[in-house]
Amino acid sequence: MSWIFEGIDRKDEERKYSDWELIKRSIKRIAPYKRPMVISSITMVVATFTSLLTPLIFANIIDTLQNPQSTEIFFWILLAGGISYLFLSVLSWVNDYIINIQSAKFVPDFMVNLRGDIFSALQEQDMKFFDKHRSGRLNSRVSSDASDYGVAVSIVMTIVGHFLVLIFIFIILALINLPLALISAMVIPVLLVMSFLFRKIARITSMSFRRAHASVNSSMAESVNGIQVSKSFGVETEVLNEFKEVNERHFIAGFRRNVSMGMFFPFVDLLSAIGTMVILGFGGQAAISGIGIITAGTLYVFLSYLARFFFPITQLVNFYAQLQAGFAGYERILQVIDAEPEVQDLGNIEIDQIKGQIEFRNVNFEYVSDAPVLKDFSLTVPPGEKLAIVGHTGAGKTSIIALLARFYEFQGGKILIDEIPIRNIKLKSYRKHLGMVLQTPFLFNGTIEENIAYGRKDASDEDLQRALKISRVDEILEYLKDGLQTQVGEGGCLLSTGQRQLVSFARALLADPRILILDEATSSVDAYTESMIQESLEQLMRGRTSIVIAHRLSTVKNADRIIVLDQGKIIEEGTHEGLLRQGGEYANLYNTYFKHQEVAWVPEEMPQQVVIESTPPP
């Protein structure tokens, strides 16, 4: 069976959990559902008794009928027997009903809590976590891994019943014939060993299947998100071929898992056939040669009970395999739940009001080790200042604000907000004071209004109108069919890029933040609209700390202070005029920029092209 393990790669960085740990944590999860568990277990006991009682009553009725009397009392006895049989039969259904209802109360609720916990764990993670894990894969942990685990847990409720049945039937078998009962019980250790071996197969194949499943998920997400690119390049065929590989791996993993789990039943069947055979052989021999007190009748009864004996065993062993499959999912779930975010919300300082002073003190920061982005970075922004950060692409501008927003944890130094170390401040209370327009504007699927109100859902209509006006969203609304109620599509794909930026701008403004951060907030917007926004923003920014990042230097000219960043270091700082006078990097950038934007400028390397008249002769 070695092929089952072929090509199964265990990712080393994934945390592994021992069975014991998984069981312990599962028990903790199930513990709150004591009530349905207890009720259904008690019902199971009742059900077992009922099912053992009915044949007895039936036998009694038969016995009574064997020597019929035509007395009235006989009639009543028969009636009583018949009715109680009927009653017990219906009771069996009621038992089933109760057990099912209890599981209806338990499993869906259990899943709600489980999914809620995974989701909450995801909300606690910082951006580094999302850099490491693709959305499609994470998604499968909340959806299908959780389902698998849920299935396993839902079977837990039935094991008590199976145990009881097993024990009762063994007692009956032993009462009929002890030696034969002991011989039949010999299958149990064999099955135990088998299920122990099976455990590993079930777990490993399930794990690799869960992983393949996640890959399909993330390939699907990737191809859908990049559909426009694939189409523009006309490479759908190539993309399909790549998907075929992922699909093939999924096929192999899934087939392997199902086959190896499905093989178990024929095995148990074979074992039970051998058990029956052994009993028939031994018992028959004893009966024929008259050794012991085995009669043919005993043997017959014994054999018919033996069939019932195997059923709960199969179920129990199968449960174990299912549990292992579920544990594969649970292990992946725990990897998310237990993942320690680097940015921990351990701070206990709530800040209701802030002045808006920001200080970076000798901050060191890297995304991946040995590739420092900020080295010994220091910067103080007094409250109310309008600071601009400029610099080459990849200099670390976005990284600075990512640290400020606590998206990532920094490695050395200190960041202080109003002179309080940022790590000591409660994250939520702090972030509420930030308003950010991120470099890649992301909108949630929903209407424009929902998106703008995202950061402040109770904003008044007045505030909303003001935000719309400043960000010039009111102008784009004219183009859109449903105005503010226009759907923006997934990620905002139904809007033009500039419109998306404006909407995310309005969202930041409406949040009414003390600290406003604009990272290339208007880079895709035409210059006219941009300059209009700037004018109206002037007034709004007054009294607020703001950080503006822009490559279009016209945007930063009016800043109180401009810092020029190069490879994570501040190389120049000052006002626009000051820096220009200084004639350094900023002046260089500005001149290049402005030179190009000047109407009269003629590029040195104007390509020598024949200018073809754009209207060809008809």
């Binding site: 039936f58 009928l65 019929p68 009639f75 028969l78 027997g81 039969s89 219906v90 899943m111 999914r115 809620g116 995801l122 910082d126 999302f130 909340v142 959806s143 389902s147 993330s218 997400a221 191809s223 189409k231 523009s232 390049f233 490479v235 759908e236 399909l240 998907f243 075929k244 699909n247 899934g254 086959v259 499905g262 051998i274 029956t276 028939l280 028959g284 043919a296 040995d370 501008k397 998206f407 994250l427 930030l434 995202y454 759907q487 990620g491 890029t497 290339e520 035409d526 210059a527 006219y528 609209t529 490559h551 016209s554 290049t592 390509p607 092209q609 200018v611 073809i612 754009s614 209207t615």
Partner: protein, 610 residues
Amino acid sequence: MSHNVIGLQKTQKSFIRWFSGHLTANPLVIGSVVIGTLIVIFSRLLIPIVLGKAIDMAIIDKDDLLSPTDQLSLLRDFVLFLLVLGVVRFFIAVLTTFANDWLSWTAQKRIREEFFNSMQNKPLKFHDSVRTGELMALATNDLGQVGGLISPGFGMIADVFISIIFSALLVIGVLNSPELLILSIPFFIAYLWAVFSFNQKMAPISHTFMRKWSAIATAVQDNITGAEVVRAFAEESYERQKFMKYVLDFRGAWYRQQILQARYFPTLILFAAIGFSVLAGSFLIMFDRLTIGGLISYNGLLISLMVPTYVISFAIQIFNAGLAGARRIHEMEVREEGEENGQGDKEFPGISGIIRFKDVSFKYPTSRKPVLDKINLAVAPGQTIAIVGPTGSGKSSLTNLLLRLYDYEGEITIDGINIKEYSLESLRKSFGRIEQDIYLFPRSIRENIIFGARNASDVDVKQVARLAQAHDFIMKLPKRYDTYVGEGGSQLSGGQRQRVALARTFLTNPSILIFDDSTSSVDSRTEEKIVKAINTVIQGRTTFVITHRLSTIRQADCVIVLKGGKIVAKGHHSKLILTSPDYRRIFGKNVELPPLEVSRTSITPTFGGS
């Protein structure tokens, strides 16, 4: 109304054809699975019979025909027969499981591939309206249910049917009491009705169940892709609330399913029938209308129906879930016609002539006014044309049409031939477009650059990276060209992303280039370098440039100004700057412009192809 019904019937028919086509794709394997399943089921039914025979003939030996030694050897034969039966059954069962799983998983694989391909071929209009999470759920969860329908679903259903028919035949054959038979008819009818109505109720629940499941997947996907925004606005608890709504909704569907499962009446009816048969039977015996043996066997047979009846409920659930999944997948596949149906079969020969827009109008399904309104435009080969205009004026949309990403009214021709006559792949491969919102695939930088030309050599990759001003920064990254860029390229800076996308397009060596605001995220010095590079690349290629930057516009042979879906001005920069107020507006207030020449502002909004 009647039209609707016909439509429904049509999709129903096409669904049945589609699904049965997938199910019967491997008739040989299906045949062996059926045979194997039958053998396994019958050999299981054989065991009690063999046991009975063994006890009757070898052990009890009523008529004393055999000596004890013969009895023993006969017993041995029986035991041996049981063993052989067990082993044979084991092997057949193993093979059947194998074949059945193979059937199920190949079907899943095939449908998934088909689904993926179908999604790839859908027009962008379709992708604008579906959710990623939903497609993910369809490709995994729904499809998984379809697989479950095949294995273990079919085996289960076969098992149940055979057992029930078998037992029913035995009841009729063995029972010699017409009274008991007549008495059980109402139960029988009720039983059938209960099974039927259980199935009826399960079908819609399965569908809802699946729909809500994908709502969860969609919600999670949204939350994860927007993780940065969620954190920036500290809206984690709101997000959780939103998510819990979907999860609770799903719980509702689940709960209903479980309650339906609990109120499973066929077993109640069977239990009642068993109890009633004992009650009535004993009185029938009392009045000598039935033998004790008759009652015992009747009772035994009814009890043997118990397990199959339980199994039916699961089989019905699996069956409906599989069907609902298949239906949802099929619905998605036929929801919008694939693009391949609208294409011609000509190979696009590369550009040689004029690109011409004739009265091209275009509207998104969701837009109020036409996004592009009767656009007329002609671009000579090798020309560079700049498209400018305020946000949302339709610049990107215009280039979308060139690539036939959306359908439009009017005609676009290249060298006099309507682009609809070309095959989509050859047409699109001749275009190189750098989209406005760069999407990089979650792979390495190298893999991203070679996305459009997979066989490119490392030398070529480096060369285009240099051209796009990307090589230097790539070499500074710890893993260089093997650096993983993150989802959508999130682990690169904005400008780095843009340059990788430039390199990606340069590598395909397209004959028509489209730059959609391709230097919006880089500093002016880098821009200058990129523009220089672009200028060498565009030599001899027809180029469309969408930009807000004057440096680029100035070099264009022709500038068109879009506003409100119309071309409001057209001509060279030096002319427009003096004549078009709309054009002048583009530069905002920070640029000093020469005075407007009022006398020459008479521009014709439509242009070309008169």
